[in-house]
Symmetry: C2
Subunit: 124 residues, 2 copies
DNA sequence: CTATATACTTTGCGATACAAAGTATCGGGA
DNA sequence: TCCCGATACTTTGTATCGCAAAGTATATAG
């Protein structure tokens, strides 16, 4: 029996790299723009400071979730970011877990207290 | 104009106290059991170690989201936890934001025609 | 040729998640 | 009676991390 089976609410699929307010916004933004987004765009879309954005992008890049292209436009630095294939894949996996969580909670909110025994927590 | 208006992906509603893997599991568990759950039950349901559970419960209690009742059963300590009213409300608020995030991302994922067969990530 | 704006990176720090160790009690054996 | 392991937590230590402030560099305007 796997650990998850006995711990239905552990949500192990919630990858720490992804499960972060700022980075969730970044990934969602990038998901909506497969062609890529510029540093300044992401900054605005996600309401991040320069420093935070830089840091989060570095984390996402090191994890292989986004591809960060640093180039120059004229003499100015211009950074473009896109989701990698695995990044997209892993984000979708994460979202599936998140969706399950929302469903679990919504279901719990909807109906009243089920007795413990029914869930098989106390043996059965 | 509020900050959120210009930063549609900032997801400011993602309360740090709630937005945490372990605590999400705890809150969902407690949502499903309004009558309360014992320390040992939560530990099992969420797959947490004693130390982590203790710590997370303390955080949730300090934030006023859960009510932790420490009593004795015989001479053994026995802790029971329940969601407070505000805890329930704040968790539901959080879930609403989370739902929006999942929808945003799903929509973004859907707009792009994926040649790969991985369709219909969400919903039915 | 200062001043301000854009485009980032680096640094410093306070907070925190997690694990390991600690405290205390109970229920068996030997 | 004296261990020994299990239950029920709490405390401590550490390593990480998010965030803000400061730093670097170039471009443009007055």
């Amino acid at each position: 029996m796997s650990k998850t089976d006995s711990a239905p609410f552990s949500y192990e699929g919630l990858d720490r790299v992804i499960h972060e307010k700022a980075r969730l916004g970044l990934l969602t933004s990038l998901m909506a723009h497969p062609k890529g987004l510029a540093f300044a765009d992401l900054k605005q879309l996600c309401g991040l400071t320069d420093g935070n954005l830089s840091r989060h992008l570095a984390v996402l890049q090191e994890a292989g979730l986004v591809d960060v292209t640093k180039g120059y436009e004229g003499n100015r630095p211009h950074t473009t970011c896109r989701l990698t294939k695995t990044g997209r894949r892993r984000f979708l996996d994460y979202l599936a877990v998140l969706e399950r969580l929302v469903r679990d909670a919504a279901k719990a909110a909807g109906r009243e207290a089920p007795p413990l025994g029914r869930l098989g927590i106390l043996s059965t």
